[in-house]
């Protein structure tokens, strides 16, 4: 039997950063991960570290994450290939450009410093962008990082600060005996703690449902692809207003692209699917003409949780004191993850998060009946 202050289910970037901040604050923590830390969404995502384009309600938390990303080496001991290349959101039509203008106005005051570029300015500053674009919005301090390195490093650093990290250790049963949680794992561990953090990503719905607060979450599988190393041309990470193909280039020259949806192979594994892959290969050259003739060497996908409003659930359970949820990041939790871990830590250590979390309360689904 293991007695700790908090048990965290899920070793993705959210659970691992909670483990890191809690251990730094002197709390005894056990992080339980079914597979390997950072082997799901957190380790296989596109690697976009961007604030631009998020709903306004996420921007305070996202801004906080931005500061944490700025200290990444101090935080996790590696640079994680993080670079503030800037994030360029492309508009394919004047309508889309208006939408970007609208966002730039409404997000003022959150520190994004967006720069709107018309067709000519875009060509002049980013000549590698295709002619189909009508303009863009540029966020100079957004960027990208290598998720394969960053997310596991959060767990590794948490361990260095004293957290118990158990990998290949699925949680199989959770009970609350009126005093504390009793958590059992497939490997036969039993853990007791007054706090339980549900950071189980796309799989978090099961625990929420067990405590009587089922959520209408579904799993999605963004399709990803990477090229062989190419000459360096992209000096910003990109996305497209209204969705489409996003792309970035890493320092060694490979371009990483995403777009469209793959499919689930089983509960925990996903593939990008030939349809999405072919669409990326065909359509990317319009937006990024330098890719013509380049070769894609690998494709992949992941399993991510989406709620109907594409906003996460973060904060207290409404039915079980001591239970905290943080899941449903809708394809955008990599950037914000470290700040979520920090906010959860504040709830445990000082009673409330410094950043408002009201928009993310699980109670917003209570009136919705879940079939």
């Amino acid at each position: 039997m293991i007695e700790v202050d908090a048990v965290i289910i899920g070793g993705g970037i959210v659970g691992a950063s909670a483990a890191l901040f809690l251990s730094k604050a002197g709390r005894r923590v056990a992080l339980l991960e079914r597979d390997f830390c950072g082997s799901h969404s957190s380790g296989v995502n596109y690697g976009g570290v961007r604030r631009q384009g998020r709903p306004l309600s996420q921007l305070p938390l996202s801004q906080r994450a931005h500061e944490l990303w700025g200290q990444l080496p101090q935080l996790i001991g590696i640079d994680g290939e993080y670079q503030r290349s800037g994030h360029l959101k492309l508009a394919r039509s004047l309508n889309d450009l208006h939408a970007l203008q609208h966002y730039a106005v409404s997000s003022q005051g959150f520190g994004l410093d967006l720069q709107l570029l018309d067709r000519h300015e875009l060509r002049a500053r980013f000549p590698w962008v295709g002619d189909v674009t009508a303009g863009a919005s540029f966020c100079p301090d957004d960027g990208h990082a290598n998720p394969r390195l960053v997310s596991p490093a959060f767990a590794q650093t948490a361990r260095r600060h004293g957290a118990q990290v158990h990998e290949q250790c699925a949680v199989t049963a959770v009970e609350h005996d009126g005093q504390r949680f009793r958590v059992s794992t497939q490997t036969g561990l039993e853990l007791h703690a007054p706090w339980l953090l549900n950071c189980a990503g796309a799989w978090a719905g099961t625990l929420a449902a067990q405590f009587g607060e089922a959520v209408p979450m579904h799993a999605g599988h963004p399709a990803m692809l990477v090229t062989e190393p190419l000459p360096l041309v992209m000096n910003a990470s990109t996305g497209v207003e209204g969705g489409g193909i996003y792309a970035r280039q890493v320092a060694r020259g490979n371009c990483v692209l995403g777009g469209g949806q793959g499919f689930a192979l089983d509960d925990a594994r996903a593939r990008p699917g030939q349809h999405a892959v072919i669409e990326i290969l065909r359509q990317a050259v319009e937006l990024y003409p330098f890719l013509e003739g380049a070769q894609a060497i690998r494709t992949w996908s992941g399993t991510e949780g989406y709620l109907p409003d594409r906003q996460p659930v973060i904060g207290h359970s409404s039915t079980q004191p001591g239970l905290l949820h943080a899941f449903g990041f809708a394809g955008a939790g990599f950037q914000i993850g470290p700040a979520v871990g920090q906010a959860l830590t504040e709830i445990i250590c000082s009673g409330a998060s410094k950043t408002p979390l009201d928009a993310f309360s699980i109670t917003r689904f209570h009136s919705i009946s879940v079939a």
């Binding site: 596991p152 590794q156 593939r271 003739g293 070769q295 060497i297 494709t299």
Partner: protein
Amino acid sequence: MKAVVIIGAGPAGIRSAQTLMAHGVRPVLLDEAARGGGQIYRRQPENFKRSAVKLYGFEARKASGLHQTIDALRGQLDYRPETLVWNAEDGALDTLHEGRAARLEFSRVIVATGATDRILPVSGWTLPGVYSLGAAQIALKFQGCAIGERVALCGSGPLLYLVAYQYAKAGARVVAVLDSSPFSAQARALPGLLSQPATLAKGIYYRSWLTAHGIPVHQGATLKRVNGEQRVQSVEWSNAKGEHRLDCDAVAFAHGLRSETQLADLLGCEFAWNPLNRAWLPQRDHAGRSSVAEVYLAGDGAGIMGADAAEMAGERAALALLEDIGYLIPPQRPDSLERSLQRISEFRNGLERAFAFPEHWASETADEVVVCRCEEVLAGDIRKVVREGHWEINRVKAHCRIGMGRCQGRMCGAAAAEIIACESRRPVSEIGRLRAQAPIKPLPFGLEVEP
């Protein structure tokens, strides 16, 4: 109607096709190569006119037989050369032919994707002038040229002596054959090898021929490094007697073969660790049925057994397929094929002992040796990740890019597994299996799609 599809026009795929045709089932035969024949009986370009005997030696009759079979079937079956199968999902295969992507739905599929060399890198192996044994043989068979003027052939496996013989026969100067397996292992293996006396005789013949023609053959000889500035200038090797150096301008090396299993993986076949092949292989029963009802496996793509076995396994898998879709098949044939396959598999056991895997390779490989040349990952990079606590091969891949490049681990996967196992002190069977991802080979941007 959904097609019966065969992937791979090597000995296994061609015999599968022939068997299906003989029963009135017309398959689609997909092959990445331009002309049927597979690895061993790879054909020269149409305008080359060397004789079969010159190209295939002892194997000339078999090679011609197989080529005649495919030439005769060509017009009747739906044969699609230069067609890469790059993905499989949802009962369909995704293909690429001359820059066009297409889908082919299948009712049943026989996977006969063959094998490539197993490479265990040494210092200097990325220098120009270093080839795999298979590539050296292909240069000879396909292009009619040798890889150099003074060639050193190294590693182990039956291909080592065969390629040496073929090179010498073709007039190339073989400066030495450096066989990493000790003579004692080969003596111990003799009982198993006696189950296929003819094949054994051939092997002995190659070796005596080499000796008779003054070509130095060293056993228990470990290739240590390849030296050179712009290209290969010499090799260093060692044996019980000490360290040696040998001038040469080209090197070919490999340690046996490895199965091409990615498609079986994408098709959902179950895999199991196979100690003999020292690899994860898709599981098949004696007839070639995989764990997936519609998928059959034949030839070296599901475990290395050589060309003769590939032909038989191709026929056997086709018979299983026919039986499963309600055709009457010759009642004695499956048993007789399975018995022959069993005999070859005993021989194969012997071969594996004769050409023992160099167990010390991983511990003796220096940190500076490039293991993955696509991503320039060094042995030391892999070890560093292992020392950080990772031991599962897909995790190690995520951390140091081993197996993430162009070849997707087909070249470096086996070597990486050995280093991970050695460094983490686990058996190589206990570090997990590199998961296959599409595309099996690189795909170009801007491709066209068949409607």
